[in-house]
């Protein structure tokens, strides 16, 4: 596959949309670069279309699970609130403080 054909597998517009979905702020230069690179990687992945998978079950985990794993529902000590909050950039009244998620109006 030529480079131009590989690049056609994904457009800059799609990369911008992916970056938004994945919450990644990219520069225009990043977008151009990732469009080229993701095109090359996807071109390689296209090879999966060659494989006959008719009637094949998907594998999520390669090692058979040893049955459902359960334990007694007994309370036990957890770590202190301030320990969990220690790595947070912003806290208030023992909580993580975040920005408003919804606009006030509308």
């Amino acid at each position: 596959m030529t480079d131009s054909a590989a690049q056609s597998l994904i457009t800059e517009e799609q990369v911008r949309q992916l970056a938004w979905l994945a919450r990644l702020t990219l520069t225009d230069a990043d977008v151009a670069h990732f469009t080229d690179e993701l095109g090359k990687v996807l071109a390689h992945m296209e090879r999966l279309a060659e494989v006959d998978v008719e009637g094949i079950e998907p594998t999520a985990m390669a090692v058979q699970a040893e049955g459902n794993v359960v334990r007694a529902d007994v309370p036990r000590p957890a770590c202190a609130q301030e320990t969990i909050l220690a790595n947070a950039a912003d806290t208030e009244a023992g909580c993580f403080r975040v920005r408003a998620m919804l606009e006030e109006s509308a």
Binding site: T25, V53, P58, A60, M61, V63, A86, R99
Partner: protein, 495 residues
């Protein structure tokens, strides 16, 4: 007493118990060695001499109190990949995102080693969030190969491998998702094991691809590697995928007769792209095992060529989900933005490096509506075919022998421009990971430039003992071990 730093784990443990030296002296010797070589190699993101001295003092007290009953690793210096959480010790995943992150708990494997009384030398460098094959995607610094300082140590557990190769630690832990223990072990001339999926708990190890990730040991000999696995393997009730199967005394497998063991040599693992020196060394290692009484047969693993595509679809899908948690709220370094969503996006846009961003976007793409069936579900089905290839082969043979990496260590910067070229570094280790099998890299010689080559031994689920038996037989009957080749190390005394 610089020779202290090159002892086997068992010899060091014996010396400690006999009172020939203390854990404090052993630790000082390792710290002195590290001071000499670390400026060149850069194995560590964080050295922890204060913790090491305190842990050594505690180990000496314990050895005095418990004597022979103390665990084998009591007082033995070891390094941890900086993907493994350590309570009170900064853990970065080699990412700017976690530049200031100090975990409040130990990963299960770190806790197990602490319970055994080990001495933490430091947190080893890696590719950012373990995504890479050369340790060059670390946001902090590159790590150099002790055998060839112009070359990469491999990756992603590059610092774990180089620290052991350069005698900065007696052993280390790494993680392997698609080859990240075996490939750097091969390139740095040490032993590295990716255990069977579920053999070792993943709790407290930052998740990359949860259906593939596995923690495992690096060490300078097969017996040392087996000793470390004994200490970390087994059930963790807080990791539901960790197995309750009993943990064998793995060291007892070292020295077991290999006569009659049947070794499969997959023809697909010697395809185009495998350097002639690598193929020749691997075939010579198989011949050596045959001369010791094993039997070698050619086998086929027909879906090998689809391993890389399958792996990159599934791995990136799991990455995109696992790394969604990094938003700068509960931990991490937050960045400003107009709205909450913009702040998240800026945090992730500036906190993650390009390789991590590429994999997150790739996973987001292959999981998105309209593409998931063609990519994700199809890759899961090809994963079944790859697993079945191994199951069919391993019904006939006891182990599979192949190269670890198609090439020896490559030059720094040589492969950073093209992700597909870099991804091909792992093409021979990915299928074993997809099948959840144990895979071990053991030194099997050197190329014309003196760079190490590794033999990959793969076995059935839970068959680590077979791999140790074969690797030990090879190590003991040849002069390919690190111990026999320290004169080739190009840093420190030999520089």
């Amino acid at each position: 007493m610089s020779e202290l730093t090159t002892l086997s784990i068992e010899a060091a443990a014996a010396g400690l118990r006999a009172g020939e030296f203390t854990a404090a002296e052993l630790t000082e010797a390792v710290l002195a060695r590290s001071a000499a070589v670390e400026p060149t190699i850069g194995s560590y993101l964080l050295e922890t001499p204060e913790q090491a001295r305190a842990m050594a003092a505690a180990a000496d007290a314990r050895l005095r109190a418990e004597g022979d009953a103390a665990p084998l690793l009591c007082g033995i210096p070891g390094a941890l990949k900086d993907l493994i959480c350590t309570a009170g010790v900064r853990t970065t995943a080699a990412s700017r995102m976690l530049e200031t992150y100090v975990p409040f708990y130990d990963a299960h494997v770190a806790q197990r080693l602490k319970d055994a009384g080990f001495v933490l030398t430091g947190k080893a460098n890696l590719d950012e969030f373990a995504m890479g094959s050369s340790t060059e995607t670390s946001a902090y610094h590159t790590t150099r190969n002790p055998f060839c300082p112009d070359c990469v140590p491999g990756g992603s557990s590059g610092g774990s491998a180089s620290s052991v190769a350069a005698d900065q630690a007696f052993f280390s832990l790494g993680t392997d998702t698609g080859g990240s223990i075996r490939q750097p072990a091969s390139m740095c001339g040490v032993v590295g094991l990716k255990p069977t999926y579920g053999r070792v708990s993943r709790r407290g190890v930052m998740a990359m691809a949860s259906s593939l990730d596995q923690v495992g040991p690096f060490a300078r000999s097969v017996r040392d590697t087996a000793a470390v696995l004994e200490a970390i393997a087994g059930r963790d009730e807080l990791d539901a995928t960790s197995s309750a199967r009993p943990v064998p005394a793995y060291r007892e497998a070292c020295g077991r007769d290999v006569r009659g063991l049947k070794i499969g040599v997959p023809r697909e693992y010697f395809a185009e792209g495998v350097e002639p020196a690598v193929a020749a060394a691997v075939r010579a290692a198989v011949e050596q095992l045959v001369s010791l009484g094993a039997e070698a047969v050619e086998i086929s693993l027909p879906h090998t060529e689809y391993g890389m595509s399958t792996f990159y679809v599934l791995m990136s899908s799991e990455v995109s989900a696992n790394l969604a948690r990094f938003d700068g709220i509960r931990y991490g370094v937050p960045r400003e933005g107009g709205t909450m969503w913009e702040a998240y996006s800026n945090t992730r846009g500036q906190g993650f490096g390009p390789e991590v961003q590429r994999r997150i976007m790739l996973g987001t793409y292959v999981l998105s509506a309209g593409y998931a069936e063609a990519y994700y579900v199809r890759a899961q089905k090809v994963r079944t075919l790859i697993r079945d290839d191994f199951a069919t082969a391993l019904a006939e043979v006891d182990a599979i022998a192949a190269p670890v990496s198609p090439t020896t260590a490559f030059r720094l910067g040589e492969r950073t421009d093209d992700p597909v070229v870099m991804y091909l570094s792992d093409v021979l280790t990915l299928p074993c990971s997809l099948a959840g099998l144990p895979g071990l890299s053991v030194p099997c010689g050197f190329d014309g430039e003196g760079k190490p080559i590794g033999l990959q031994l793969m076995g059935a689920h839970w068959a680590e003992e077979t791999l140790f038996s074969l690797a030990y037989a090879l190590e003991q009957s040849t002069d390919w071990s690190l111990a026999a080749n320290r004169n080739r190390i190009r840093v420190g005394d030999a520089q």
